[in-house]
Symmetry: C2
Subunit: 342 residues, 2 copies
């Protein structure tokens, strides 16, 4: 009790157990290299002193942190939560720790966070979407930190990715909307600048229109942030026009729910007066009233696969294999045949 009660170091443990620091280190990291008797003594010392290794020192010496970093655009809604949870569970199974930070959909912040995570010794990174400055990818390469892109799969992308084909998924949904009888279709999209997921989703809708002989240029598209309020505002905007759309395809469920809320508030009947669709199939989609027709994304599966692949890349087991996850359109009440007189 005479000593200052500050965090004990490897050295303290070594002294306490009467061995060298090397032995203590081996006890902690490669126990089977140490004979049982010694090991027990060391572990007891560890216990008695309440020792915890200093990570910074360990990372520095070992050049390995068993930490994976993830930068997601936002924690403000459930879009990324579920997939990330699965990602984390899978990492834990392999002894990795996950560190998350959010970029608020801002490229600058994302860049900063990536640097922070790399500087902190992350062995690998999970990134959302493909689009970002080349500089960042070069930086990662230079630091030899493998990165895995998720939530998006682009057939011709450089980066390894585990995600889904946003364009195809949206195409399928739009086809459904068209098949249901809609011709005057509008869209509420997320901000497309720097966001390939948002871009390709819009593209998917356009392609579907084109494929069905509808002029994609005539489609009204409002771009806005992925927030409930934004969805509501966009909805109001779209419905204030002379020729109202009969269906509004939203870039994700959050926007769609915002639209639904505004519809209810202003007494617009969904789906009688206008159909609304979402994307992601988060819990909100089923809870919403009317329940949302949307694109179901198997987030958990994606998270799990992403973790497995990223770990393989970190271990050098894999050079990076992309996976395209299948999505599926889910029919619920928010989409219906347009009124004939519309």
């Amino acid at each position: 009790m005479g000593k200052t009660r500050s965090a004990p170091t490897l050295n303290d443990v070594a002294n306490h157990a009467g061995v060298s620091t090397a032995t203590v280190s081996r006890c902690l990291n490669t126990p089977n290299q140490v004979v049982e008797k010694t090991r027990v003594r060391v572990m007891q010392a560890v216990e008695e002193l309440g020792y915890t290794p200093n990570f910074a020192a360990r990372v520095m010496a070992a050049k390995r942190s068993f930490t994976i970093g993830a930068i997601i655009p936002t924690m403000d809604n459930a879009i990324f939560a579920r997939g990330l949870q699965a990602f984390q569970s899978e990492l834990r199974r392999s002894g990795y720790t996950l560190l998350v930070s959010s970029s608020e959909y801002k490229p600058d912040i994302e860049k900063e966070q990536i640097r922070a995570l790399v500087a902190r010794g992350a062995d690998g990174l999970l990134l959302i979407g493909h689009e970002r400055e080349d500089e960042i990818y070069e930086y990662l390469k230079r630091h030899q930190v493998p990165a895995l892109v998720a939530w998006s799969y682009l057939p011709d992308a450089r980066q390894t990715s585990v995600g889904f084909n946003n364009r195809d998924a949206m195409f399928e949904l739009a086809q459904n909307v068209i098949d249901t009888g809609h011709r005057r279709i509008a869209m509420i999209s997320g901000v497309t600048a720097g966001n390939d997921r948002a871009q390709t989703r819009v593209q998917g809708v356009r392609d579907a229109l084109q494929a069905n002989g509808i002029d994609p240029c005539k489609m009204r598209v409002i771009e806005t942030t992925y927030e409930i309020d934004s969805g509501a505002n966009a909805f109001r905007e779209l419905m204030s026009r002379d020729l109202r759309p009969t269906a509004i395809i939203c870039g994700n469920d959050v926007l769609a729910v915002g639209a639904l809320r505004e519809a209810r508030r202003t007494g617009v009947a969904v789906p009688d007066e206008v159909s609304v669709t979402g994307f992601d199939d988060i819990e909100l989609a089923e809870i919403a009233n009317p329940a949302l027709t949307t694109v179901h994304v198997p987030h958990r599966e994606m998270g799990r696969k992403a973790a497995q692949e990223l770990i393989a890349m970190v271990n050098g087991t894999s050079k990076g294999v992309s996976t395209c996850i299948k999505t599926q359109v889910v029919h619920r009440q928010s989409l219906a045949r347009p009124q004939t007189d519309a």
Copy 2:
């Protein structure tokens, strides 16, 4: 290009700029100690080499990381998202980086994550709720890492906290329910073991019943995980009894939304046949149909205040001052007077 293209170090920059490592370090950390001419030269070298400081080394040498860690029970829903976002923004303003990890409501995992964050050199920690092993608090003290408890304020708690009084908030809500005419009240609570927030919320309801001459022991309480499905199951369970409650108070909005979903599925009218209330006032509460009567928690304010206080503690400016945030009952359609014949 002859050299191996691996991450440049301080030393490389120093050589490149023709100065010592000390000077480079000073340029980066305390620029005004370096004369402009030198500084420019150094910064240019930094730029040319694409240098990023190695965090582990920096933390080790400086014993300061400008990193704050937060361990939240789950990222799976919006309960913590909003407050955390505000927390992060405020930290950024002061030059701190936030690292988040989730414990999935499991004490063991939380403990592990706390150690991971501390070992990683976190200057301070944000913890949710007061209740955890003493050992953890001792560990933090030993490592001299200040911790701030949020989402809960307990008048007589040891730990510094910035949160709200869960008992009082729930008391007020329950009083409202009683005032609305309900007598047969049931509750769907989160798991109370190791969770003081869940515990005190139940206590709040019990106290309100008591205060109104209703025997709290007669109240049916179902404990379950904080998931939509769990809420739904609990609702079914409660409504399958002979004497159905006229009001169900839920431990949070997620459980309440689950109850609402089950009600809709089974054709139970809310609030006509049974009233339902939530807690937190996340977006879901307003979206739900019928919209939820709930307790509004000013999450952003809490996050901001928590960040400010924690930074003060880290800087040694404050020894830790607790703040109790005011909550407010929000009336929406899910709560109404019980049918007279009930």
